[in-house]
Amino acid sequence: MEATGAEIVVRCLAEEGVEFVFGYPGGAVLNIYDEIFKQNKFKHVLVRHEQAAVHAADAYARATGRVGVALVTSGPGVTNAVTGIATAYMDSIPIVVVTGQVPTPAIGLDAFQEVDTVGITRPCVKHNFLVKDVKDLAATMKKAFIIAATGRPGPVVVDVPKDVTAHLTEFVYPATVEMRSYNPVVKGHSGQMKRAVQMLLEAKRPMIYAGGGVVLGNASPQLAELTRLLGFPITNTLMGLGGHPATDRQNLGMLGMHGTYEANMAMQHCDVLLAVGARFDDRVIGNPAHFAREQRRIIHIDVDPSSISKRVKVDVPIVGDVQSVLTDMLELLKLAKEKPDAAAQNSWWTQIELWRSKNCLKYNQSGAIIKPQYVVEKLWEVTKGDAYITSDVGQHQMWAAQYYKFDKPRRWINSGGLGTMGVGLPYAMGVQLAFPDAQVACITGESSIQMCIQELSTCKQYRIPVKVVTLNNRYMGMVRQWQEFFYGSRYAESYMESLPDFVKLAEAYGHVGMRIDKPEDVEAALKEAFSPALKERLVFMDFQTDQTENVFPMVEGGKGLSEMILAEEL
């Protein structure tokens, strides 16, 4: 039977088993919206700004591992969505964004609400398509879902001109589509894996460095088994948090610019490094020349060859999917006759425990002012460490990463690569819709939250009961911290004046607002927010925190990983 392009879009989404489409209508997508109106296979969530639609779809993908979907109109709908698309791109998140376009005969004529969507989004998508012929639409949608989800995941944009949504064709949704130019590697090279296992067994000061690829590739069980079997220390990147349980003794915590003393020291001084789904980001290894000063051999598992030897030269590259490669390496490890060198391991762990005993994350909650770290720790206690935590970008993000101990993957939802302020609330929406019964908290700052605050309205409409934990320091704290350290405390435009009364604001949107000024009220407020009485409500908690608290440890830009500033040194 023939179907219109609009029907085809909607039916493809249904065939893909899409649960939610986050979107915002406009002229170019009205045919598609009309078909959405007529169907009940998926739910459309009307956001209040297209940026939030993409963020929510992205968070849905991060939390569930399935492809998130957003739908926006041409022109301004697309430009609003770009921040969301770039955010997903930098963190390798699988989403499909369907964008409306002006009718094909009008393309290139500066038509009303025309932008070159394929051109604008090209540098921040894994791939994009402009569908000029309705006959190509179904296959293109299939390709979009395949490309988004496989290999190194990422966003795919499908740009559909309005006339194409009206044209008719036979609808067949292909089960799969062959692409001769696209064949991501899954299995690792067996020779390389053997070399890697051998190298691991010979290590005197080993270290496992696990990133977002472990979470994206659902390889936590394999990683845990490998780590246990070897007895090696492990660290997670910001994106890898939860990829290995934070409360496991072998886990040294996050590494990098705001990583723990022990993780950074072990990373710097190890002799064999196993990098798993991590990309040696500049926030992670500090100055590459300083990092290269120590002799170490590096094994790197990554599905994307271009992540390997990009910033740091590696000795044993293994291109493949983490889960597959780790499974094979476990196999090899179990067959190996050698065991890791016990004496060497012992002295290495003694050294690590010495580093750890610096207790670099200690802080002092005395006095009458709420310490932000304290709020996060209490949040962890009150939610029994089992919540989904989204965050915005800034100091609060780092405190969330440092003090909420993530024991499971896909619980920590944040923007690492692009560092996009404003993601927190739409991220929380995407997660809560995916898991209606879960505890979902958004840890945010008073500056970040204002970048997508309009979504409080979406939360009201769809009864999304997330808990907003605002660490309100009346500053763009992360900016203020840099200005304090590197710009002679000249706080150029980093204050937040004329802040709204967040309690009243939350109430105006139909939610519950709370303001917490005293340390002794922190726990009670959190307990109340997560109590059964407020289970169905969005609670906006405005914690008035220490204005001048800084994030430690810190590796300054250009410095080496082991050259951290610690809290006690100031």
């Binding site: 402009l130 271009s306 030897s309």
Partner: protein, 163 residues
């Protein structure tokens, strides 16, 4: 070092801009880039001449391979290969210089493909260095216009880029 990279990609709208965009976004050099469909009209063959350290060239080939439309990438510089470029030069050809210009063109195996009372248009093919040498061999004052295609390359012997 100078590298000459060949690639096969889907002959689709926008494919060229993905490659060009990649080079500009990642601040890689492009000395020249040529592209045209192959005998199989669904495929485009591109030749890119670029300059960079070994690390940069490694990243370039990896990033090119990562483009969803790209089917195969080959760094021709890694083996023996042939490289050709076409140049058309329009020169003044008057008085004594007219005969001299013809002689120089002959020496470089150039062909005069258009003639007027006062000009010649000369066609030359060869490696880029040969075209450079020709331009150096004639008096710059005689050059009216030059146009070059940029290099195309192919592997020697059995070495080939096919799907």
């Amino acid at each position: 070092m100078r590298h000459i990279i060949s690639l096969l990609m889907e002959n689709e709208a926008g494919a060229l801009s993905r490659v060009a965009g990649l080079f500009s976004a990642r601040a890689y050099n492009i000395e020249s880039l040529t592209v045209a469909p192959t005998e199989d009209a669904t495929l485009s063959r591109m030749t890119i001449v670029t300059v960079g350290s070994e690390d940069v060239i490694e990243q370039i080939t990896k990033q090119l391979n990562k483009l969803v439309d790209v089917i195969k990438v080959m760094d021709l510089t890694e083996g023996s290969h042939i490289e050709r470029e076409l140049m058309l030069v329009k020169v003044k050809a008057v008085g004594l210089g007219r005969e001299e210009m013809k002689r120089t063109a002959d020496i470089f195996r150039g062909r005069i493909i258009d003639v007027t009372d006062s000009t010649y248009t000369i066609e030359l093919t060869g490696a880029g260095s040969k075209l450079d040498a020709f331009l150096q061999a004639i008096d710059p004052a005689f050059i009216i216009e030059t146009v070059r295609t940029g290099a195309s390359g192919i592997g020697r012997g059995e070495r080939s880029l096919k799907i």
